[in-house]
């Protein structure tokens, strides 16, 4: 398939890895932000093919992993309400809340549906006027354009039985938390290609300069990833701290302007808690007050929630690149994809799930 096959060409990938090996003279720690890239790296064995000087640690870019427990518990409470049809991206269904997950709500008779596009949830609302349809609008900058369009569409069509439970986060504020930590080890970043496709990459140069770290906007195929690593290593070896676009076929400096405009129409920046990490100022989006009628938190009585997180789970440290999945005592023992303690073991963008699936760090 075009734009896929040529980026999986093993000879080219090996050639670029050889170039990395020829360029590197000392140890460097790089972080890939996006959990989709974590899975590609482990799946294609890139972590094992790189020269030993390069260590990859895994970032917070796993939407369901960082969705705060409170918000999952609210989702569970809403989904268990009579006359509600609760719609979600599939990844979310097995993520553990304090006591349940969405699957168990469904097993107990709740109407929980997996949807592909948020527009499907609006359609479900139109087809079920006697039900309240709630969509769990989670994600980073990549899902925001789709999620906000569902609200605009519902408003335009006069669909009054549709609302969204928002848990949106943005990448740049998380970079400040990672780089500002006294324990930080990350010296260069593979930036999430599709986040930048939406938002552009003008936001990152000031962060690169402030903390003195290079960054490369990186795609998702093996060749994209090794190219992103090479761009980081070249800069690190030369003492540079630029933001390089290593995914120019999909990303421009300004990003997708119509999408940004629509996000800005519907969402406003807000403080947001990240699961395992804590509250990060102005790191999220929520609905503007003009859209209160579509805000599930305003329509259902779920403000007061007490949560109960597993004390064994170290997902928060893994999501900040401070630890690896196999540093966790519960990894592969108390915590498996069948019986997960934390969201990083569930999601196909979670680092623990990637390590478990491809046998990294398992005895």
């Amino acid at each position: 398939m075009k734009y896929v096959a040529e980026y999986r060409n093993a000879d080219l990938v090996r050639g670029v890895i050889d170039e990395i090996a020829r360029t590197v003279t000392r140890n460097w720690v790089l972080m890939e932000i996006c959990g989709g890239q974590t899975h590609a790296i482990v799946r294609h064995g890139i972590d094992q093919l790189l020269p030993p000087e390069i260590e990859l640690v895994h970032g917070p870019g796993c939407p369901v992993c960082v969705t705060p427990l409170e918000q999952i518990d609210r989702a569970l409470a809403i989904a268990a309400t009579p006359d509600v049809i609760f719609c979600s991206y599939g990844d979310m269904l097995r993520v553990p809340g304090s006591s349940d997950d969405l699957f168990s709500i469904r097993a107990a008779g709740g109407d929980v549906r997996v949807i592909y596009s948020p527009l499907d949830a609006v359609k479900i609302a139109q087809e079920n006027p006697d039900k309240k349809v709630v969509f769990f609008a989670i994600g980073f900058e990549t899902t925001a354009p789709a999620n906000v369009m569902s609200v605009v569409q519902a408003k335009m069509l006069g669909v009054t039985n549709y609302s969204i439970l928002v848990s949106h986060v943005r990448v740049p504020p998380a970079l400040h938390v990672i780089l500002g930590s006294p324990h930080n080890r990350v010296q260069g970043f593979l930036l999430a290609g599709h986040v930048c496709a939406v938002m552009g990459y003008w936001e990152y140069a000031p962060i690169a300069t402030q903390y003195g770290v290079p960054m490369a906007i990186t795609g998702f195929e093996p060749l994209d990833i090794v190219q992103g690593i090479l761009e980081n290593v070249k800069q690190l070896e030369a003492g540079k701290t630029d933001v390089v676009n290593a995914y120019p076929r999909a990303v421009t400096f300004d990003g997708n302007k119509p999408a940004q405009k629509m996000i800005d129409t519907v969402f406003i920046e807000c403080d947001r808690k990240w699961r395992g990490i804590g509250e990060i100022p102005m790191s999220g989006w929520e609905l503007r007050s003009e859209f209160d009628a579509f805000n599930a938190e305003k329509r259902f009585d779920v403000r007061a929630i007490t949560t109960d997180e597993s004390p064994l789970c170290i997902a928060g440290e893994i999501l900040q690149g401070l630890k690896k999945p196999h540093d966790c005592a519960a990894f592969g023992k108390e915590c498996t994809p069948e019986s997960p303690l934390g969201a990083t073991m569930v999601s196909n963008e979670g680092a623990c799930a990637a390590y478990y699936k491809y046998g990294r760090g398992l005895e």
């Binding site: 398939m1 075009k2 734009y3 896929v4 040529e6 000879d11 080219l12 050639g15 670029v16 050889d18 170039e19 020829r22 996006c34 959990g35 989709g36 870019g61 939407p63 369901v64 991206y89 990844d91 592909y116 596009s117 948020p118 527009l119 499907d120 994600g139 980073f140 990549t142 899902t143 354009p145 789709a146 999620n147 369009m149 569409q153 335009m156 069509l157 999430a192 599709h194 986040v195 496709a197 939406v198 998702f220 060749l223 190219q227 290593a246 120019p248 076929r249 999909a250 990303v251 997708n256 119509p258 999408a259 629509m262 963008e349």
Partner: protein
């Protein structure tokens, strides 16, 4: 969720409220919304995220970066064979 997949636009439908398309992902065809890529036309390749096209792929940029990588790899092979 962030693993947007590249697909080719094989049909565009402007008849509804939103500009929609059928997109072919190597044999699997799905519906996608084109509202955020108004310049999209039949045959274009696009990255789709949760049912929305967020970016059109640039053939020119793709060829340029592939050529650059091939150059690196070829140069290396030449140096290695000396």
């Amino acid at each position: 969720m962030c693993l947007g997949v590249p697909g080719r636009i094989i049909e565009i439908d402007d008849s509804g409220d939103l500009r929609m398309a059928k997109v072919d992902f190597g044999g699997i065809v799905r519906e996608a919304c084109l509202e955020y890529v108004p310049e999209a036309k039949l045959g274009d390749y696009t990255v789709i995220h949760v049912g929305f096209a967020i970016s059109l792929l640039s053939e020119e940029e793709a060829q340029e970066s592939l050529a650059m990588l091939r150059e690196i790899v070829d140069l290396e092979a030449e140096l290695g064979s000396e």
